[in-house]
C-alpha cells in the first residue's frame, strides 16, 4: 500500500505496470485476459472451487460415444429394416441408396451404393449440420470440446477469439435453413412411423412402434423448440397484437424453447434407442414384443 496521508496518490500516477514490481503478468499462452496488467493481480486463473469441469466432461463423453455408435451404424449398411413389421431406423431414412432393400425405400433408390456413402445420404449430413448449428449444441460443444470457455469465469482455452464472425463459424447463421429442411425430414420420420403400423400381416402394434412413436415425438419437440423456429413463427414480429395467431404460435414455441436442451439430449437418446432396437430385431438378437 502507498503511504497514508493527503498527498497520496500522486495525481500524475502512472497507469499500467511500468515501474511496479507486482504487476508483471505471467507469460505463456494464457497471458492477457484476467491477467491483463490493468486488472486485479490474482495469480489463479480461476478461483472457482466447485467441480465445474464435470458438465463439459460428461458432454464430451456422451457426444463421442454417440457419434462413434452413429458412425459404426451408418456404415454398417445392414440391420436397418425389419421386414416383418416394416420398422425402418431413422439412421437409414429416407433410404435412397441403390443398395437399400426395396421395401425400405419409400422414396425411390437413386443414390450410389458405396461403402463410404450412407444409405440415407440425403438426410444424414443435413441432420448433422442442423444439430451442429443448433444454438444449444453450439453452447455444449464450444464449452466442452473447444473450451471457449470451459465454464463460466474459467479462462478460455485459446489465445485468440473471433466468435462467429468469420469462416467457418459464420456459417452457424445458416441454422435457419437446416431447420426448414430438418422439419421436412422429421415429416419423413413420421411417415416411417405410420408405415410401421402395417406389417406383413396387416395392422399391428409392437414395442418397436412405441419406441418409434416416442422417438418421433422427441424429434418434433426438439425441432419445434428450435430458436430459429421461434423466430420465424412470431419472434421476428414487432407487434404481436396485430398477429394474434402467430402470437399464440410463438407463445407455444417459446414454452417448448425453454426445454430445448432437454429435448436435444432426449431426442439424441431416442434416436440411438430406436436404431439399436431395430438393429437387434433385424439381426435376430431378440424378438419384437407384440401387443396386437
Amino acid at each position: 500500500m502507498t503511504t497514508p496521508g493527503p498527498e497520496q496518490p500522486d495525481p500524475e500516477r502512472q497507469s499500467g505496470g511500468t515501474g511496479t514490481a507486482t504487476a508483471a503478468a505471467p507469460s505463456g499462452p494464457l497471458a492477457g485476459g484476467v491477467h491483463e496488467p490493468t486488472r486485479a493481480d490474482i495469480g489463479e486463473k480461476t478461483l472457482r472451487k466447485d467441480r465445474y469441469w464435470v458438465t463439459p466432461a460428461i458432454t464430451v463423453i456422451v457426444l463421442v460415444a454417440w457419434l462413434t455408435y452413429g458412425v459404426v451404424r451408418v456404415f454398417m449398411q445392414d440391420y436397418y429394416y425389419v421386414d416383418e413389421h416394416h420398422y425402418l431406423t431413422p439412421f437409414y431414412s429416407p433410404c435412397t441408396s441403390t443398395g437399400c432393400v426395396e421395401e425400405a425405400a419409400h422414396f425411390g433408390r437413386f443414390t450410389p451404393n458405396h461403402a463410404l456413402i450412407p444409405f440415407a445420404v440425403l438426410s444424414l449430413p443435413l441432420l448433422l449440420v442442423f444439430r451442429l448449428t443448433c444454438y444449444y449444441y453450439r453452447k455444449a460443444y464450444y464449452r466442452s470440446f473447444w473450451l471457449s470457455p470451459p465454464a463460466c469465469a474459467v479462462p478460455d482455452g485459446h489465445k485468440r477469439y473471433t466468435g462467429e464472425t468469420r469462416f467457418p463459424l459464420i456459417l452457424q447463421n445458416l441454422h435457419r435453413y437446416t431447420f426448414y429442411l430438418a422439419a421436412a425430414i422429421v415429416l419423413i420420420n413420421t411417415w416411417d412411423m405410420i408405415l410401421a403400423f402395417g406389417g406383413d400381416e396387416g395392422f399391428g402394434i409392437g414395442l418397436g412402434n412405441l419406441i418409434l412413436i416416442f422417438n418421433v415425438v422427441m424429434l418434433w419437440l426438439y425441432t419445434l423448440s428450435c430458436h430459429s423456429c421461434r423466430h420465424v413463427t412470431g419472434g421476428r414480429l414487432r407487434h404481436f397484437s396485430r398477429h394474434p395467431l402467430r402470437y399464440r404460435w410463438w407463445t407455444f414455441v417459446s414454452k417448448l424453447n425453454t426445454r430445448h436442451m432437454l429435448y436435444a439430449w432426449m431426442s439424441l437418446g431416442t434416436l440411438a434407442l430406436v436404431d439399436f432396437y431395430i438393429m437387434g430385431v433385424a439381426a435376430g438378437w431378440f424378438d419384437d414384443l407384440r401387443f396386437l
Binding site: M1, P6, P9, P11
Partner: protein, 601 residues
Amino acid sequence: MTDPSTIERHSYDVLVVGAGGAGLRAAIAAHDAGAKVAIICKSLLGKAHTVMAEGGAAAAMGNVYSEDNWRVHFRDTMRGGKMLNHWRMAQLHAQEAPDRIHELEDWGALFDRTPDGLISQRDFGGHRYARLAHVGDRTGLELIRTLQQRAVALGIDVYMECTVTKLFQEGGRITGAFGYWRESGRFIVFEAPTVVLATGGIGKSYKVTSNSWEYTGDGHALALEAGASLVNMEFVQFHPTGMVWPPSVKGILVTESVRGDGGVLRNSEGRRFMFDYIPEFFKSETADNEAEADRWYDDKTNNRRPPELLPRDEVARAINAEVKAGRGSPHGGVFLDIASRRSAEYIQRRLPSMYHQFKELADVDITAEPMEVGPTCHYVMGGVAVDPDTEESTVTGLYAAGEVAGGMHGANRLGGNSLSDLLVFGRRAGIAAAAAATAAPSERVSISDDDVTAAADAALAPFERQGGENPYSVQQDLQDIMHRLVGIIRRADEMQQALSELEQLKERSAQLSVEGHRQYNPGWHLALDLHNMLRVSECIAKAALERTESRGGHTRDDYPATEDDWGTVNLHCVLDDDAVSVRRETLPEMPDELRELFEEK
C-alpha cells in the same frame, strides 16, 4: 496544503448535483433549454435511490377511472399532507404529472398497459382513484433508466462517483461548487452560475431505513450552509412496511403495492387491526368492515377503501402501537398477508421483485406465507424552501428539486407522488436554472484561490489527525440517537436529550481520523458525509421540538392532538453562526377556487 492551480476546473451554465430522477430530469430540461450542463453524482450513473421506488408514479391521467383529474389529485395530495403543503407546488404537480409521464414514453419507457393500450394505473394509499403509472413493482428503475438513457443520448457530461462538499458564493450568488473524485481522491472545481440540488434525502441518519449510504442529506446541508432555509424538517416519513428480518435487511422496503393489490395487515392474533385505527379525518372514505373493504378492490364506486390503504403515517403509527401492545410478530413487526388472498400466479406477476426479494434475502415465499413488516425511515418531507414555479431557493442561483426540496408534500407524502414530483419539479428547476444562467451571461465571477484552498483543507482534515475517532462508530451512534429519540413517536425530554447528545457527536466528529490514503477510501468519504448528517439531524430535532402538536410524519407523545393553530405554520431552519435556528412562517394562502375543492361534500 493543496495548490489550487493543480486542481481540475470545469465551467458550466448549470451544474446538477445528483443523478436520480430529479437531477436527470433537470439536466435534460436545462440541456433542451440550450444550457451547458453537467451532472455530478456520488455513485455510478443509474444507481441513485430512485431505483428503489417500486409502486409507481402518480398522475391523474384518468386511464382507469375517467372521473380522475388534477383537482382530485391535488385534493388528495393536500389532504395526505395534512394541508401543510405549499398549495402552488401541489397544484403544479397535479397538473403537470400526466405530461411528464407521457414524455417518458417518447424516450423508451414501457409502462404496463390497460386493455385499450393506455398506461395502466394502480391503487395506492391516500389516492382516491387508481392513479399510479407503473411497471410491475420496479417503476423507479424504469424511470431512472429512461432518463439516464435520454441524458446519455443528449451527450450531457456526467461526473460519476464525484462528491460535492461545498458551494461557492460571491455577493450572495452561487458561483460554483467544490468536490472530490471518490475514485482518486483528487479535487475538482466547477464554475457555474446556477446549481440544481437533487441529492435526495437524509435517511442514513436513522438506524432502520430503506435508504442507501448516499442519503446523508448533502443537499440539505449544502443549502443550509449557503444561506438557504429548510422547511418542514420535522416531518420524516416512516414507511409502514419495511422488512424486519433477517437483521441484515431490516428496513428494506416492502412496496405499498402489496396492499394496493390486496394484501392486508394482521397482528399476532390474526386480527386485521387497521380497522381499529381509522382517524376521524378519513372516516367518511374508509371502509369500517372487512366485507366492504374486500369488495372495494372490484367495485370502487360503491365501496370505501380498506383501512390498510390509509396514508403512510397512519399505518406506520398503527403498526407501532400494535407491536408496543405485545401483538407483534416474532421478529417485532406485524404480518402482511397477500398469500391467503391472491393466487400465486397473480402475486408473481404483479409483485415480481417483492417475490424475489423475500425469496432471496429472507427465504420467505410470499405466495405461501405472510411477510413480517414494520416501519422504516423512508423519506423526508422537509427540504430546501423553494419558489414553487422555479424551484429557486432564497439564494440566487441555487435550485432544489426532488426529495431535497421541501413544501410539496407538507406533513406527509402520498405514495406515488415522489416519482411524479421528481419529474415535474426536476424539469421546472432545469428550465429556470438554464434561463437564469443563459440570460445573464455577463462577467462570471471566478472562484478565488483562497476559497478553493479552504475547501480543500477542510476536506483533508481527517487525514491530518492521528488516533482520532472512527467515523463508522460516530455514524452508528448518530443513527442510534435519531432512531431512539427522534423516531416515529417523539417527546420533548427525549428530543432535548437528543440535541445534547448531538452536540457531543459534533465534538467527536471534529476529531475524526481516517486510515489509508485518498484513493477510493470509504472511511474518508463517510467522515465528510457525517458533517452533513449531523447538520440535518440537528434541524430535524430542533424543528420537531418546536412543533408542539402531532401531524402527518410528526407524532408527539406529549402533544397527541393536531392543532388548528399549527395548521397555518411552517417551520424554517436556518444557519446562525454555525448553529441551527428555527423560525415560524405563515403558510401561503390558497386561492379561493382551490379552497372550494375541500369544502364540497
